[in-house]
């Protein structure tokens, strides 16, 4: 019954949102009703073992060993809460996890031993990549995960044992692991921040998701992606700001497929900066911004990609070598993405070559620069062909408000620091987006507490900070 209500609510809310977007001058911000579930959790006790109920607003909690939300139970974190995770603890969720920070009072889950650093970030000396606390590991019985306006800082300490069977292995080092093999979970990750982690920030299996308006910095040590959904996931990754990722910001792959549910991700209006330079894993030289692989469907539009190892990549299908095989090239579509590079080796990969991996990225006329014209596609171009991109270096500067380009520190500038990636009014990214070439995915409940705060549709401007202010709110 609840489900039905939710299902009915979705289109209504979506329509409401679509309508409200048209009135872009609106800045009304009415506070949501604050809810409490179950008993309040004591902020004086050291938390360890089974946990349920509500962490109350603006209080500070200390977790001293792994805490587990049992099946049927809920952990609710209200706004302004700080959860200090000590002893590299994990949060294991077999029930429901909800963290409801707000724009004015975000919540924090962090490791008190760590402090953020600015400027040049070196893999082996920046503690951001080492994992402080563990992660949030959600099992098959966790059907709802909601994270809003919450900072996940310094997560990813390696698992010392398995949190539950049939999922993560010892040594896994994700910040959020969410897996519902039945394909029936809902995963909401919105308006939040993630700073520092050693591997994939978020790994998903079998869920509906909305990952929107987040900021990720310093994710992945010598490998790992920002958001890495595997088999049976359908949802949006939009209006996210990525900087200094080891590999991709957004990725999708239908590994461990769930029969009849092919992974499909709408990756739009994201901004990817300085991505892909720390991937030195065995399968090195993967992409560095957005990647669609392994029979998954990607809708890659309206993104800005600056000084990343590669442009967005649609994996090709020799089905013969490497761990990666072809994307669903029938259902995938892409275009209207701006790519900028300060060196030839990066410009040489605006449309990735096949040295590391078979490729099937079709150069697009709608991309900036127009790679279809540049590479003579169709015509003499073959997928993955190696080309000389030196003439593209320094072209199409997106004109960020405060991140002057060229910037040659792209391998080591991995955090936002004082920079501002909003667009200057003269930016070539303004007005170049599409709002019609594809539709965002509407499959999660929309609810101030138990669902998405809103699915922001694609914008006419590129990147995560469109000039109408509807995108990333950070």
């Amino acid at each position: 019954m609840k489900k039905l209500v939710l299902l009915l609510t979705i289109p209504v809310l979506a329509l409401t949102l679509m309508y409200s977007c048209k009135k872009s001058d609106s800045s009304t911000n009415v506070s949501a009703a604050q809810i409490q579930l179950g008993q309040a959790i004591s902020d004086t006790a050291k938390l360890c073992g089974a946990i349920k109920g509500t962490m109350l607003a603006n209080k500070t909690y200390t977790v001293t060993c792994d805490v587990t939300v049992n099946a049927g139970d809920t952990l609710l974190i209200q706004k302004g809460v700080t959860v200090k995770m000590t002893n590299s603890s994990n949060i294991i969720v077999n029930g429901t996890f909800i963290s409801l920070g707000t724009k004015d009072a975000p919540s924090f889950i962090t490791d008190p031993r760590r402090t953020k650093t600015t400027g040049s970030s070196i893999l082996s000396s920046d503690s951001a990549y080492r994992g402080g606390w563990g992660g949030i590991y959600c099992s098959a019985t966790c059907k709802l995960f909601v994270l809003k306006w919450t900072h996940l800082d310094f997560g990813g300490a390696a698992l010392q044992t398995v949190p539950f069977s049939g999922g993560p292995a010892v040594g896994d080092q994700y910040v959020v692991y969410y897996g519902t093999p039945a394909g029936d979970g809902n995963f909401i990750f919105e308006d939040s921040w993630l700073y520092g982690c050693p591997d994939d920030a978020v790994r998903l299996y079998g869920c509906h998701f909305n990952i929107m308006r987040n900021t990720l910095e310093k994710f992945g040590s010598n490998g790992g992606d920002g958001f890495n959904p595997k088999g049976g996931n359908i949802g949006n990754m939009a209006y996210n700001m990525f900087i200094g990722g080891a590999t991709n910001g957004t990725k999708c792959a239908n590994d461990n497929p769930i029969s009849g549910i092919e992974t499909k991700v709408a990756m739009y209006n994201n901004t990817y900066v300085n991505g892909g330079f720390r991937n030195s894993g065995t399968f090195g030289a993967r992409a560095g911004s957005a990647e669609v692989e392994n029979q998954s469907t990607g809708l890659v539009y309206n993104n800005i990609i600056v000084n990343c190892l590669t442009g967005y990549r649609i994996a090709g299908g020799n089905n013969a070598t490497a761990k990666v095989y072809h994307a669903d090239t029938v259902n995938s579509s892409y275009g209207y993405n701006l790519m900028y590079a300060d060196s030839t080796s990066l410009a040489n990969q605006f449309v990735p070559t096949n040295i590391a991996q078979a490729e099937q990225t079709i150069p697009q006329h709608t991309d900036i620069p127009d790679m279809a014209t540049f590479l003579h596609y169709p015509g003499s171009y073959t997928f993955g062909a190696i080309y000389d991109g030196s003439s593209l270096v320094g072209k199409n500067n997106p004109l960020f408000v405060n991140y002057p380009l060229p910037n040659y520190n792209y391998k080591t500038q991995a955090s936002i620091d004082g920079y501002d990636f909003h667009l200057q009014s003269t930016s070539p990214a303004i007005g170049k987006g599409t709002t019609t070439a594809f539709s965002p995915i509407m499959n999660v409940p929309v609810d101030p507490n138990f669902g998405s705060s809103g699915i922001t549709p694609p914008n006419k401007d590129l990147g995560c900070y469109p000039t109408d202010g509807t995108g990333n709110q950070h």
């Binding site: 390696a158 010392q160 013969a320 590391a356």
Partner: protein
């Protein structure tokens, strides 16, 4: 030696000159215990000039002997001299079958005789024919003649036995076509535990052949034997105390020619710590990278390594021969090497383009590897026996064997890309990995046995045995150097300067301790004619096993930040590498690894069996064994996860009946039935998800496994011709209930992991042929087994179909697939050609071993099983003795250059085109791995001291 020559010359002269007499005296000489023919025994008619030596089949002949009374005398080193008086008439032909007993006689067996037993059967041809069980025996004498230095190599000469040739070497036995896991290993009749960390089977190459008195391979189970040997049992009987003082030794040297082509690499294993840092510093201590000395990763070549082998045996008998003592030690140091090329299978499989099209196995890397292994074997045994009086005896055996292997593995790993270059798919990265590993295994066993005779027809023996098997891999270390490969638009290749990659430092060890008590009672009743023996008794074993693993992973410190690079250039020496822990918890290692387990197993078994000669031709041997198993494990999984511990209690009733019908003196028919079991491997139970070494698939045990029960039926015809010539043909059927095979469970996990499961009932049936024929100094022996084995298991096949909106989507099918059991080859055979010239003291052997194709790894995916190609091995050995004490030998292995090769059946899209791979042979299958052993020649010198 000289005497023998003179005898030969004299007999030759005599025979050619005097032609008028016509009696013929001939016969065969055998080892009394094993029934093996004895070659080169000196046979003479005492007081005459007639003399000869026995031929390869143990045969001797004197022709044209004058009528009269003679004393036949047989002399043979290390055997008791036998004399036999007889009278022969003119034109008469007299035949003898003579059995020599070892002068190393065992403790005088306390013999019992039934009332209706006729006493020892003089005409018996051998133990194999008359044994109640189906058994093959190899004597110490034969073993000492062969150039084999480990029991594993000796075993491949036993009929019906083949040795699994894997990249770890020749280690495991396959008996009558049954995989290693279905066979057990005994020392002096006591089952010994395995040093393996997961499995029950024992590596046979740990045992030096020199300690053995004889080797028995028993191929049919009787109730007095433990019920978990479906294929067969290998029993190593250690040397027995001699009749008088013996003191012998030998020393041998050898060289393997593989090191003409490949460098032998060694490393400083003295830098390896026995314990991991957390054990030294205390649980919970965060270690630092300086606790991992880099010196153990430095490799250096050894030129022309010389294999050595020496042994020494001393024994005597005291107190009026009542107390016998023997002690033997053997030490071997050998060097071996080989190389391999393989494509690494990726676990990420693309869906088929539609439901009816096949899926393909993709490959992510091409690995080229070179191995250098130094093996140090030490074997020691001692036996004491004391004959208290005619009715009581006591003996004590102790055996210790150890095998320390020091291995350097060099891997060049090319990460395959999507770019074709120079005709092959090209790579984008080359990682070079050096791995230094010490694998230290040892097994000891101490057994005390007492025998007591209550009455002339009632005997009891009791045995208490302590055994321990241990394996340790202290500080198994590796480090990687990485190089990125780039190709520009003109196809010019640039390989980036090497960077330091990861370093791993792992500690593993496991021990398995058994204490076992056996009580056997033997009663020869007089109340029923034909019922010659009733045996009954029992066994109790308490087993405890534990396992430890701790792994550390370290990453390269970034030292070059000048150009914004995030790497550490490799200087060419590992000693300059700098490492750190990339994850904050990495300094703790993996001491909480939930895969770490302890296991215990209590087995209480009792049995009764009878030997009943229903008629003079029909013999029944059978009875019932009951085995009660009470076992369980505890692992380090958190209590919040199912399967942290488990207990298993079950009772098996194992009936056995063997009927033998003697058609005549030379032939018989045997029919047998027995039920046997297979208990799951320890590591197959523990449910923790583990990453496998090759990153292929995760592996998880299955705590819900049931043990396997096998019903075995056999029908065989045996024909014993003259001498040791023999022909045996048989058919068999095995019904295997709940076989344990590997598959994937996709329902409950977000990762695909291989797991063992029970799969219904499998059927193995087939036939077997064994023959042996001698022609003077030549002999030919062979055996062949055909096994049809079949099991159906669900597989997994993703494909692309259309959904209700006519859009592409991925579906996952679970088709059933019928295949042979894992590791079961349909065709196994071997043929040996033997030559022995006692006169010239030359011995040679040419041996073919054929193993048909078999599944090496069951893939969870439909039609992607990994098969091992048929192998045809050809080994040749020859040795010549000079004087009394020196033997030169040459052993040529793998003359046909048959390698270990793995492949996947189905269209090979790597045979041509842009995705072409190296070493592909056919468009009909993908060659995944090829190990190049090459022909190797080992030559050496053996000296008896």
């Amino acid at each position: 030696m000289l005497k023998q020559k003179i005898l030969i010359i004299f007999s030759f002269l005599f025979l050619t000159n005097i032609l008028s007499f016509a009696a013929t005296i001939k016969g065969y000489v055998y080892d009394k215990l094993s029934g093996e023919q004895l070659v080169g025994a000196v046979v003479s008619l005492e007081g005459t000039k007639y003399g000869t030596v026995t031929e390869l089949d143990g045969k001797f002949i004197f022709t044209k002997i004058p009528a009269g009374t003679y004393k036949l005398k047989i002399v043979y080193a290390s055997y008791q001299t036998l004399e036999k008086e007889f009278t022969v008439a003119d034109t008469e032909t007299r035949s003898f079958n003579l059995q020599l007993a070892l002068s190393y006689s065992t403790l005088k067996e306390v013999q019992i005789t039934g009332k209706y037993e006729k006493g020892s059967d003089e005409e018996s041809q051998n133990r194999e024919k008359n044994g109640r069980e189906i058994m093959n025996v190899m004597s110490a004498h034969t073993i000492s003649f062969s150039p084999d230095i480990t029991v594993a190599s000796v075993l491949q000469r036993v009929s019906g036995v083949s040795i699994e040739n894997s990249n770890a070497g020749k280690q495991y036995v396959n008996i009558r076509g049954m995989d290693k896991k279905y066979n057990t290993t005994l020392v002096n009749g006591v089952k010994i535990p395995s040093p393996n960390d997961r499995d029950r089977y024992v590596p046979m190459d740990i045992f030096p052949a020199e300690l053995l008195d004889r080797l028995e391979v028993i191929k049919s189970l009787s109730p007095s034997m433990e019920g978990d040997a479906t294929g067969g049992v290998v029993n190593m009987v250690m040397k027995n105390a001699p009749d008088g003082l013996i003191c012998s030794g030998n020393i041998a040297f050898g060289y393997s020619t593989i090191f003409n082509n490949q460098q032998f690499l060694n490393f400083a294993h003295n830098y390896q710590d026995w314990k991991s840092p957390i054990e030294i510093q205390g649980q919970g201590t965060y270690t630092t990278p300086d606790h991992f000395p880099l010196q153990s990763l430095v490799t250096y070549p050894i030129n022309n390594p010389i294999n050595t082998n020496y042994g020494f045996t001393i024994g005597n008998r005291f107190f009026n021969n009542k107390l016998g003592v023997i002690a033997s030690v053997s030490n071997q140091n050998t060097y071996k090497g080989y190389s391999s090329e393989s494509y690494l299978q990726s676990s990420t499989i693309a869906p088929a383009p539609d439901k009816n099209t096949a899926i393909n196995q993709p490959f992510s890397d091409l690995n080229y590897r070179e191995f250098s292994t130094q093996s140090q074997r030490l074997g020691m045994m001692t036996k004491l026996d004391y004959q208290i009086n005619d009715n009581n005896s006591i003996s004590l055996f102790a055996t210790y064997v150890s095998l320390n292997e020091y291995r350097v593995r060099y891997t060049s790993d090319s990460t395959l890309g999507g770019h074709p270059l120079n005709g092959y798919v090209f790579y984008n990265e080359v990682d070079t990995k050096y791995e230094t590993r010490s694998t230290l295994q040892d097994i000891y066993n101490a057994t005390i046995q007492a025998k007591h005779k209550f009455t002339s027809n009632f005997l009891a023996d009791i045995t208490v045995a302590l055994s321990e098997a241990k394996q340790q891999l202290p500080d198994d270390a590796s480090f990687t150097v990485k190089q990125l490969v780039n190709v520009d638009s003109t196809n010019k290749v640039t390989i980036a300067p090497p960077e330091v990659g990861k370093m791993s430092r792992d500690w593993y060890r496991n021990t398995d301790k058994d204490i076992t008590t056996y009580l056997n009672l033997h009663y020869a009743p007089g109340f029923l004619r034909g019922l010659s023996m009733i045996d009954f008794g029992g066994m109790y074993r308490h087993k405890t096993r534990d396992d430890y693993a701790n792994r550390y992973s370290l990453s390269a410190v970034v030292t070059d930040t000048a150009h914004g690079a995030n790497n550490q250039p490799y200087t060419g020496s590992v000693l300059n590498n700098k490492y750190y822990f990339a994850n904050s918890l990495d300094p703790l290692g993996s001491t909480n690894d939930p895969g770490i387990y302890t296991y215990n197993e209590d087995i209480l078994a009792y049995y009764g069996q009878i030997t009943y000669n229903i008629t003079s031709r029909l013999n029944l041997f059978g009875g019932l064994r009951v085995e009660n198993t009470n076992s369980g494990y505890t692992c380090d999984l958190p209590v919040t996860v199912a399967g942290k511990s488990a207990t298993y209690v079950y009772t098996d009733f194992l009936p056995s009946a063997q009927l033998k019908y003697s058609i005549n003196d030379k032939s018989d028919v045997r029919a047998s039935y027995f039920r046997s079991i297979y208990r799951p491997a320890y590591g197959d139970l523990v449910p923790n998800t583990q990453k496998t070494e090759n990153d292929d698939y995760d592996f998880a045990g299955n705590p819900y496994l049931r043990h396997t029960v096998i019903d075995n039926e056999d029908l065989r015809y045996e024909l014993f011709l003259k001498g040791s010539d023999q022909l045996m043909a048989g058919v068999f059927n095995k019904v295997i209930q709940d076989p344990i095979e590997y598959s994937i469970d996709r329902q409950s996990a977000t990762v695909d992991q291989i797991q063992p499961f029970n799969f219904g009932t499998a059927n193995n049936y087939g036939f077997e042929l064994v023959f042996r024929k001698y022609f003077g100094n030549f002999g030919i022996a062979g055996n062949y087994t055909f096994t049809h084995s079949q099991i159906t298991t669900p597989k997994y096949k993703p494909y692309i179909g259309l959904d209700s909106n006519n859009k592409n989507t991925v579906y996952v099918d679970s088709p059933s697939q019928t295949r042979p059991l894992n590791g079961q080859a349909a065709n196994i055979g071997n043929i040996s050609l033997l030559y022995r010239s006692p006169r010239n003291k030359i011995e040679a052997q040419l041996a073919f071993v054929y193993t048909g194709e078999k599944i090496s790894l069951v893939s969870p995916f439909y039609n992607l099983d990994l098969w091992q190609k048929p192998t045809l091995g050809l080994d040749f050995s020859i040795q010549k003795q000079f004087g009394k004490n020196v033997t030169l030998y040459l052993k040529a292995n793998n003359l046909l250059n048959s390698g270990y090769e793995l492949f996947i059946k189905g269209d090979n899209n790597h045979y041509s085109g842009d995705n072409k791979f190296r070493f592909q042979e056919s468009s009909n299958y993908v060659t995944v791995e090829k190990d190049f052993y090459k022909a190797s020649f080992l030559f050496g010198l053996k000296m008896k001291l």
